[in-house]
Symmetry: C2
Subunit: 439 residues, 2 copies
């Protein structure tokens, strides 16, 4: 898997070159359009949270960056502040803070950087962007919300991934997984789920050993492993499950079916039940999702999340159940920007370069540029001080489509020489009709 | 002057409610379109810089926020990092770092938050957004670049301010100002310029006193004050200035004239020579600009900047001259969002709400929502769990245009009831023709 080479002021804080930034911006713009087509509204929270807010969600594991005012007297100065490490804790705090202004169910998307003070290493960032959607209810939130975030994320990924790229949203349900582990006879359900969560890393023989260590009988552990790997919901129905497992199975079937109804048929194949997905020991309580892109498996899950019973529990308010998915944008972009069309993005938004071969004619060049911009054509005006050949060579390098030249005679005649930089063909154009020639 | 009430996790770190965030996003999108029409390319730098990079530009005055890893062993952990306090220092560092990849002249825009650890107070933020454009040369950059950033900023402000709002870009030249102060006989030119910079705050009688203290003779100080206030370039020409003052005058006249050529005639009146503008003792060396909005004078200058001889001097590389302007976005938005059309922004991007009056029909509602989205109509699907009346009332509250209802009979007949929430009229529509009815 190819990834782009990234620079930056500091290791782990990546930055793009101009063409890459333009591609990233366009990808983000497509994500926004998809999120908004489902009615998700944009939210940006402050970069900073109070440490006590972050603490409530387990600061120790997250390598939080605290702040300090460099000019402060000793002991003084904003030491209660820290940088957000995800977009979920700020959402919880925002919702509690603004609950009288917000209308529930509340849908928001948030595309912002988060910060973690980890040791920099390949593919691990200390600043990285996430693109989250969440839908929140008050007290209750029907299961249709789970189907909605899955459908929305599926359409979003289809819109930004290269045409024909295979990607699968692997969908499971924590109640079902817990129920199955209990059905198999495990005496330590969290340990068994943690073991299953690691199966992809360590392989199934080791996973079966791990399951046996949670007091599942060996043959039952084999059965369970086979069931999980097959992920055939029809077979599960035949098992005659009950209680939590049955509830989870019904939920999973409902979510899958409804998500497909929300999607055009061409995307139905991108959703798969996958009983091996657990999403660690996180706070998910029902639906859980991970997403694999076939050509970029090394990225891990590029879109993950699930259902949680109460977003704001740690903030001590009434229950706000929700379901959300998060696209790991920075990681995904590092690969996506090596793929077409993104890899060939021009380094400038302009399509036309008005060259400056004679600084005495700058007023004429300015008039040409103004005429083009007025017609809605993005236009660079060269400020002068460079040889014409260099101006054009640099224009080609940055992916401009047209160069416009004019000498004294052209200026007097209100005309220009128009060069198509792709075909190297050149023609004379009256300034009056130039915008039409370019549109 | 009215401003919006802002909340946020922490004082000085403002956040928007959904409708405000949507308005802010739309304003930013208009700014980007204008910046890009001049060929400025987007840049985002990392939130973090090395303290030594920031130090080079005078950290003490800027109340920089340093970082610390909360989990770090004592004395260890990323203490060399700090949050950026403007967008100019990161630009300088980025340009030096990537100079072999960038093509000069290099135009970039950057719309990102910056951070200053100041005591929070009304109208003073600790996190605020700037929207900067800069154009950078290598070794040289002709004066046409100054005219370009001024024209670009003028069109941008005209596009985001309320229709008919009066705003003036007040343009001066530091060489002219220095030359005039020298012509008047000042023995301390920096002190005299600092005095003039304060004139708006303290009034002209006090300013004249201040000028006299820099060893300008009293009658000459009166003459100088009158010249500056009149800001009539024709009168200056008659003075027979020489040296630096004359050079500055010619520059100012050229910049004004060229900027007007770059603008549609309706915006020529938004540019004014104003000899009282100094931009403090900052690093500007030629053109300087401040901008006043007539209905919101209390905001101070909403768009400021100028020409600098060497962006990267403190980083010890070859000269990178440039000229740039910065829109103080957060401050401007606090007022702009109280103005139409921004004050009436709906709190959701969707125009249509598909209601859920019967959760058993959710698959049908999902099909309706999918049909609308497929036709490019932004659609909210209510997840259920709320009375139909509440669903519609909340839809009206958030500014949705249409509500769609369907009962069992409707679902069987593949039709819906369509309610226009503005006119409260209702009609029955076949699902097949529904998108056409809404477009």
């Amino acid at each position: 898997m190819e990834t782009i080479k990234l620079t930056g002021a500091v290791g782990g804080f990546p930055e793009f070159l101009p063409a890459q930034q333009r591609a990233a911006d366009e990808i983000i713009s497509i994500i926004k359009t998809q999120y908004e087509s489902y009615g998700y509204t944009p939210l940006e929270t402050a970069t900073v949270e109070k440490i006590e807010t972050l603490l409530a969600k387990g600061i120790a594991a997250k390598e939080v960056y605290g702040l300090r005012r460099l000019n402060a007297e000793d002991g003084e100065g904003d030491k209660e502040l820290a940088l957000r490490f995800d977009l979920t804790v700020p959402l919880a705090r925002y919702v509690v803070q603004n609950q009288n202004e917000l209308v529930f169910p509340f849908r928001r998307y948030q595309i912002q950087p988060v910060f973690r003070g980890e040791r920099p290493q390949k593919g691990r960032y200390r600043q990285f962007h996430q693109a989250d959607i969440d839908i929140l209810g008050q007290e209750t939130l029907p299961l249709s919300a789970d189907a909605e975030v899955i459908a929305c994320a599926t359409q979003t990924l289809a819109a930004i991934l290269p045409k024909g790229e295979e990607f699968i949203l692997r969908i499971n349900n924590r109640k079902l997984l817990q129920g199955l582990v209990a059905w198999a006879g495990s005496a330590d359900i969290p340990a068994a789920i943690k073991t299953i969560d690691n199966a992809e890393k360590v392989g199934w023989p080791k996973t079966i050993e791990g399951l046996i260590q949670t007091a599942i009988a060996a043959p039952k552990a084999e059965d369970l492993a086979a069931l999980l790997q097959a992920s055939n919901l029809e077979n599960l129905t035949k098992l005659g499950l009950s209680g939590e497992a049955e509830e989870g199975l019904t939920e999973l079937q409902t979510v899958l079916s409804l998500a497909k109804t929300l999607l055009p048929p061409a995307l139905h194949g991108n959703l798969k039940a996958d009983l091996t997905i657990a999403r660690g020991l996180d706070y998910y309580t029902g639906t859980v999702v991970e997403t694999v892109v076939a050509s970029a498996k090394e990225l891990g899950s590029v879109c993950s999340g699930g259902r949680y019973e109460n977003l704001t529990a740690s903030l001590g308010k009434k229950a706000i159940p929700g379901v959300g998915l998060s696209i790991g944008l920075s990681r995904l972009l590092a690969w996506l920007l090596t793929q077409e069309p993104w890899a060939s993005m021009p380094a400038t938004p302009a399509t036309v370069l008005v060259t400056c071969q004679d600084e005495n004619l700058m007023a004429y060049y300015a008039k040409v540029a103004q005429t083009l911009r007025q017609a809605g054509i993005k236009t660079e005006l060269h400020p002068g001080g460079q040889a014409l050949g260099t101006q054009i060579k640099n224009g080609v390098k940055r992916g401009l489509t047209f160069a416009i030249m004019a000498n004294d005679d052209d200026a007097k005649a209100n005309r220009v020489q128009l060069k198509n930089l792709a075909t190297a063909t050149q023609s004379e154009q009256a300034l009056e009709t130039l915008p039409t020639a370019l549109l």
